[in-house]
């Protein structure tokens, strides 16, 4: 059974103006659909990656997975337990201890007034666990020194801070780690160190990652399965080899063509046209239809469902 099972997940944010403004200016309520009817499963000990541009809803899905946000509709099942609806506190607590998160900005996600030791053992201490020597052991596992436990976050570089974040995520011996753009704030050489570390730890601890990123090359390197998001909808899902060699959805094709290539010296490609539409008033039918070269009448009327095509899942009317 899959470790995580996400079914028909939808999240709607109310971004309306205050009541008085709406009445005076005669404005309707404004609802922003950040995530719309997304379903996927993450197998144990695999890396599932979500890619998409800004506003595609990838971080919102990550937050709903760890329980920082509740879903508007749909279900997030982790080991068969739906955190948003489960009422048994013990079960919820057991699942919560199995989930940890690594954030994008290692400068903002560590409390500057806490010592590294206290930061790392917090997930265990909060549940009243035994923490003696834990921080020192974890620091060595992520490639820092045990002596660093007594220091403060400002004494470390960006890459080292991200290692501390990883050590903290590992402290409660989780099964699932949600990584929201874990290397976007890092330089290339530091990114390589952190990605290698994450791969090693995954094998060592039998971890499962939900890896959220906008960087296609990083995703290709890390993921076992990739989901491509556009305007809150999952448009394609496939294994990396298949997705990169034979992208099926026109949006995925556009994304891959637009990504700069290391060997693309002086490459002249027609840049993609248009931009992501407004999520408050998404276009009817397929969200990609205004930019899509293949769009037909049906694409403007009917939203395509995600269906199986070979080893992939694609939401497009025009793919056979």
């Amino acid at each position: 059974m899959a470790l995580v099972s996400v079914r028909n997940l939808t999240r709607i944010f109310d971004v309306s103006k205050p009541w008085l403004n709406r009445v005076v200016e005669r404005r309707p309520r404004a609802l922003l659909t950040a995530v719309s009817d997304v379903s996927f499963e993450i197998e144990e000990r695999t890396v599932y990656a979500l890619v998409g541009e800004s506003g595609s809803g990838k971080s919102t899905i990550g937050k709903m997975l760890v329980g920082l946000l509740g879903p508007s509709e749909g279900v997030v099942d982790i080991r068969g337990i739906d955190l948003a609806r489960e009422t048994d506190a013990d079960k919820i607590d057991a699942v919560r201890a199995d989930i940890q998160m690594i954030f994008q900005d290692p400068f903002a996600s560590l409390n500057p007034r806490w010592r590294v030791r206290d930061i790392i053992v917090e997930p265990v201490a909060a549940r009243g666990g035994e923490t003696t020597g834990l921080a020192e052991r974890l620091l060595e596992q992520v490639g820092l020194s045990a002596r660093d436990a007594g220091k403060f976050p400002h004494e470390f570089s960006g890459g080292q801070r991200q290692r501390i974040c990883i050590a903290r995520a590992l402290a409660s011996e989780p099964k699932l780690i949600v990584c929201d753009e874990p290397t976007s704030a890092l330089d290339v050489s530091v990114q390589a160190q952190v990605l290698n570390l994450m791969s090693d730890l995954k094998d060592e601890f039998g971890l499962t990652y939900l890896f959220i990123s906008h960087d296609l090359t990083v995703v290709q390197h890390m993921a076992d399965r990739i989901g491509v998001l556009y305007l809150g909808r999952l448009v394609e899902e496939a294994a990396p080899s298949e997705l990169f060699e034979n992208p099926k959805h026109p949006y995925t094709q556009m994304l891959l063509a637009a990504a700069p290539k290391l060997d693309g010296f002086g490459r002249e490609v027609a840049p993609p046209t248009g931009e992501i539409p407004d999520p408050i008033n998404p276009p009817p039918g397929c969200a990609y239809n205004p930019r899509c070269p293949l769009a037909q009448a049906v694409c403007r009327e009917e939203r395509p469902v995600l269906r199986k095509v070979g080893g992939a899942r694609v939401a497009c009317h025009m793919v056979d």
């Binding site: 541009e53 800004s54 570089s157 960006g158 890459g159 080292q160 330089d187 290339v188 050489s189 530091v190 990114q191 390589a192 160190q193 990605l195 290698n196 791969s199 906008h214 296609l216 090359t217 990083v218 290709q220 390197h221 890390m222 990169f244 556009m254 994304l255 637009a258 990504a259 700069p260 290539k261 290391l262 060997d263 693309g264 010296f265 002086g266 490459r267 002249e268 490609v269 840049p271 993609p272 931009e275 992501i276």
Partner: protein
């Protein structure tokens, strides 16, 4: 070869502090020809933005140019102060920053911002400036330019704002543009649009571009030549194809190795051990030697051969011998 638009010789920037003098840029020399895009690449703290700011005279005190010369179209500009520099900035050198929102005034319509720049530098009338502003927006691909001239920056998306900033940098027809991480804050598809736009405009107008970036992919696609910086010094300088596909300096090689690539599959990424040294504790000799797999005794005392223009690409005693490897 035509005379270079920008010529930097032995540029050194110093920051005096209580604990001694820091040197973020040290002995950097390069030229940019008209119509050429030179990529300046390096990790955070390599001094790539600092070198760009030195050219346009935007070093924030106490940082200052300690030695070296900067020539723009044959005129020396590194000693210019106050008004003289201000006339140059915007007129001869355009600047595109990373974050388009902070480089536009939120309280002014974008048409007024464009006209303001043109009126300051060109001898034209109000109405002509407005016409030109519309034309400039049209040229950078903003749909409905005639109406959008009267919009405020917040009414544009990130990609459109960056287009406005590029229009702003180009409106006085400068001979050099310094683009400091112009696409870092943008999405992949928008990034492709902006890079294509920069390339097209520079080719059409023969504008020289200094493109500061940390993205090797952008570098490969946009630039003609590339300068790799490490700890304030040039590590390697040469045509982009040579430097990226057959790097000579071990640092460039390490940088390329740590970039995830489709062809490498899921193997471990190459790691450069350690991290960039801090400016207040630079190693002696070649700054890269503590992390370098090829370092010898010589590297610990001697900073390595300087990069001469035209010949010699890497500032390294033991450059990777590509013929021996192949």
């Amino acid at each position: 070869m035509p005379a270079p638009t920008l010529s930097i010789r032995d540029l050194t920037v110093d920051i005096p502090t209580r604990h001694g003098v820091l040197r973020p840029v040290s002995g950097v020399s390069y030229d940019i020809a008209p119509g050429e895009i030179l990529g300046v690449v390096g990790e955070s703290g390599a001094g790539k933005s600092m070198a760009g700011n030195a050219v346009i005279g935007l070093l924030s005190p106490p940082a200052h140019i300690a030695s070296g010369e900067i020539h723009l179209n044959g005129t020396r500009i590194d000693g210019l102060k106050g008004d003289a520099m201000r006339r140059l900035r915007g007129k001869e050198i355009g600047m595109v920053f990373q974050d388009p929102l902070t480089s536009l005034n939120p309280l002014l319509k974008i048409g007024d911002q464009l006209s303001e720049t043109m009126l300051a530098h060109l001898d034209i009338s109000q109405s002509e400036a407005r016409q030109r502003a519309t034309a400039a927006l049209d040229e950078v691909g903003i749909p409905g330019a005639a109406q959008r001239v009267d919009s405020y920056p917040h009414e544009f998306s990130g990609g459109m704002r960056q287009r406005v900033v590029i229009a702003l940098a180009l409106c006085a027809e400068p001979s050099l543009i310094i683009a400091d991480e112009p696409t870092t804050a943008l999405d992949v598809s928008v990034q492709a649009q902006i890079i294509a736009l920069l390339k097209r405009l520079c080719r059409e107008r023969g504008t020289a571009v200094m493109l500061i970036t940390h993205d090797m992919g952008v570098l490969a696609e946009a630039c003609d030549r590339v300068a790799v910086m490490y700890a304030g010094k040039l590590a390697e300088l040469g045509p982009v194809r040579d430097v990226l596909s057959a790097p000579l300096h071990p640092y460039t090689d390490g940088l390329m190795g740590s970039t995830p690539l489709a062809s490498r599959g899921k193997d471990r990424l190459h790691q450069i051990p350690g991290s960039m040294p801090r400016l207040d504790s630079l190693p002696t000799g070649c700054a890269f030697h503590p992390r370098c797999p090829r370092a010898a005794a010589q590297c610990r005392v001697d900073p390595g051969p300087a990069i001469e223009d035209g010949a010699g690409r890497a500032a390294c005693f033991f450059p990777i011998d590509r013929e021996a490897v192949a």
